[in-house]
Symmetry: D2
Subunit: 323 residues, 4 copies
């Protein structure tokens, strides 16, 4: 199954880069939550292209229309559906790519899986465009989380030289770090339904994510236990750790310390430089040049997406089953 | 939910470090599969302690007893349950830890979540001991995968200096790389139910895993698109890539190239050195010395566990719904 | 979780009786399936009001707009979203009911669950109006099933006297029988994931369904084993049963005989006759008269809905995980 | 998927009629719950054969051994596994049935599904024997529910003439009614995740169940709306209904009135009378006589099983996700 995630709150994403519309259905939100639509629009604007050097020149209106889930301005317990019309679609750009998979994209395995019936226009359902409804969902969850004292904030921890890449016709990647504060201790579970498991499963749903780590992450592999362990102490009547190498999560459960995670974003696979590929009909090798409109670096635009996905999972975790 | 994973094949892990027994129920295996019990025992022996310097001195018989799921030596379509008796249990070692959480372990958040009712003996359900039934499950899946031409093999990619750590009373971590070969292209799905999502969700269920990456992973963040993209060519009538920075998986789907993933293992949190903690009753800070028997490095023993979990997820993926 | 069902194909229903739109997202459909939009419209028209005596006078255009999931007229493997605008909405009818739950409706428990924030207009998400997107989904599945030789057909097995009920200002119920032919033997599973379990779980999602039975159903309770058992014989090289008391399903699995199920539909709870209820604010008993537009009998309109839900579940079952 | 059910609490049933052991893993129980093992044994004894005329002469010890999930006598938050050894197994009885499916059993579709590899001994995983671990699970849940003021009690509503059937070598069925009291109003959800949906899905997992209905059920089809609707009134400050045709559940949600459901149990398919069947190898019709030990009526033994399954689902519902 591809496009539904969540246990207590289920998020169902639909749409393709050039379908009539894209959107999300959120099932299981608590009732009685006011949604600040201006704040949602402002959050979504952070993801929209055209704000950073290196963004695609494609312009999106991205006005999300709420079809259901509200009554008198607050959530009513019914599934919330938000839909975004695809207006600035120029599908002709992609016809040349029908039988020639782009390196670094999912074109080839999708063609195999769907026996040639996948939507080739702009990456179809695998397009970064689908992070717009994710951001809508995240903005909703962020508002609900904030009322419970939980905040989520991401930033760029590392990024390649975009200006240089644009000049070369190339692209760069980076690392995004996300921190959530205000979570209670004891959320989650050991083994497969824990905080790390569910966050990682959702975060790998963001296009171009190639790695996810918590706390000291891969660098923990180079530390001694005495360096990586975080000793407990008491501060203001609360049990805290002096350091936070564990990133607020131990063995699947939150500790009450700030949750810290990082995701690796690969360089945008669509580059202006010519590349080698294969024609899937003739199996002949061909030279491929990608036209269309693309980002030389999606890292800045992915920052709110990482916040959004993190917020969705944390709200789902906060609502976990209990007596 | 904590201890069940899988969609088409469901794996349900039970047991605590010092409960009467531990085990796994595997629901959804194909029928008619012969299980080589000697090969399963040999695989499980790779995880058992006592083979590497730095392993815990605890000895486990680990003979798994199959309670159900077989008829005349082959799988019969019913859930397969394997049970391992806990014989060499010395629970008295742990009484001193009842109210003093060990740094780097899940003791503290578990005490909060379960209001003091968690099993404190040897880490309870969060113990590395629970990777024994995971290895049983993985060994079963590996045999079924191998009959379909899929092999899974992990190795240590990086590890700290165990001898030095043991001498200091400290511990070290490392990185394990796992490669699966023979997978068909087109397995998986975009977004949340893809290969990376499901592997990551399961791999973070292995105690001490702090990061998961695919292909070039976090290092992709430092590459140019032209460096990280893998160009297609044809070899023996098959579409392949010349390089494999994508690690055999693009946008949630397998490409037919070797699947390559890496997991970061933190240094064992149980160390002989004294540490600071807090008494959960009095909220007073205390000095903690951990006795018991522990591994100075679990990386070598985690290698077959990574193979096992990868195999479980890949079999589940291979059985995905289709017409 | 309320409004998502399915394992290999997931159906996510959204909307309220008087929200801006209602619809469905279908995730997991096979790619390459042509959808006959005229046949879908014709199927949906069978559910639309105004065709039978006793139907509500509300008129619906019910034109479903496909927002995603198609490329060049065939399914492309991405989630299929269909949206229906709510145009003929007259929400003022319902204001009087805000604090007075209607007998036989879910008003009272919804008010408790959502602490008064439920959408009271026309039953909100619990309205029979939500069976329109269910019918869209069913019509899609029926087309895909028919290409595999599976047909689904329901009819009224029993119904009260509608004309008499309308005259009295009352309502009547009935029983709908549904038969699916062409299913292969061996589909499903024992215990909780079988054919009966999954069909029943989905069929109880249709408003007003109070009972579900398979084959001889409740009447089996009055039969002898020798009467209820169906003996096997061979016809045209196929193993068949001479009788079909088992309704094509034994212990969770299809036998290849026609699948036969029946659902009990209660009389429409909205009646013109005055009823007693309670004001949820004052806890005073009040006389309630329901205006609005209602069906005196929904049984005829529920016939295609039963077909639709059955088709959705059968397609999901046909796609079950296998190697 | 066959043998796992539940959302917040997951129940995983394993075993075959003549495998080494049978049992259940319960994941997600609240921690800190004392289990009264004598009460569990007494509950399981109600299901054990040998108490009613018409029961199988097979004797079972049925002592359940708890392998995990407890610490110091209370639940510890880890999965609870209970295992029952199969001691009085006489598998030789069944060899004659290997290629000749018994009418009314799942033998034939299981042989198709598992290509002949299903466990033919005593019905394998489809055996009524598997209701023993279900009763263990139910007994655990009943204790936890009772501490929250919820009781569950089933009784025979209708049953055939067992004495007559035994004399004829035949079998009889019946109807079981189950009532749960003390549930709060507002539990559940509309559409597919509601009380009826989840109870029905689980109850059809009990062998021989052919129908499930709530409240007035199938008889509602013969009532007028004014007869079937339950009017609200106030009693002791609580909103109640004067009648309970809705059986305590409306549109997927509990109303606070007693939950009333009924299940139809077909006559035991194993009868002493000779029957016609087909040899699956030769496709020749054959005369079949079933030896072995069987129940002429399982209705009395199914009463605690219906209570058990109802209790499992209600506990799962009580733990539903919330903020």
């Amino acid at each position: 199954m591809s496009s539904v995630f969540g246990e207590n709150v289920k998020f169902s994403i639909f749409g393709q880069s050039h379908s009539e519309g894209i959107g999300v259905v959120i099932d299981g939100l608590p009732a009685g939550e006011h949604l600040d639509m201006q704040a949602i629009a402002a959050f979504m604007a952070r993801r929209a292209p055209g704000r950073n050097p290196g963004d695609t020149p494609r312009r999106e209106a991205d006005g999300a229309r709420v079809l259901s889930g509200l009554a008198e301005g607050v959530t009513c317990g019914a599934p919330l559906c938000a839909m975004i019309e695809n207006t600035d679609a120029r599908p002709k750009d992609y016809e040349a790519l029908r039988h020639v998979p782009r390196p670094g994209h999912a074109d080839f395995p999708l063609a195999v899986k769907h026996r040639g019936h996948q939507d080739i226009r702009g990456g179809g359902h695998s397009s970064g465009r689908l992070t717009a409804p994710l951001c809508f969902a995240g903005a909703v969850c962020l508002q609900i989380l904030e009322r419970r004292g939980v905040t989520v904030s991401a930033k760029i921890a590392k990024m390649g030289d975009v200006a240089d890449a644009m000049q070369r016709g190339d692209s760069v990647g980076g690392v995004i770090e996300c921190v959530a504060e205000g979570l209670p201790a004891g959320l989650g579970a050991p083994m497969f339904g824990g905080v790390e498991n569910r966050l990682a499963a959702a975060l790998f749903g963001i296009p171009a994510v190639r790695g996810v780590e918590f706390g000291s992450g891969f660098s923990a592999a180079s530390l001694l236990g005495s360096e990586n362990n975080d000793e407990y102490f008491v501060k203001g009547g609360q049990i805290r750790t002096r350091t936070n190498h564990h990133g607020g999560v131990l063995g699947g459960l939150t500790t009450g310390m700030p949750l810290v995670l990082r995701v690796a974003i690969k360089p945008t696979p669509s580059i202006a430089l010519p590349q080698k590929s294969v024609d899937l009909r003739s199996l002949e090798e061909v030279d491929l040049t990608i036209d269309g409109r693309h980002d030389a670096c999606i890292v800045p635009r992915a920052v709110p997406v990482v916040e959004a996905v993190t917020a969705c999972v944390l709200l789902d975790l906060l609502m976990e089953g209990r007596l």
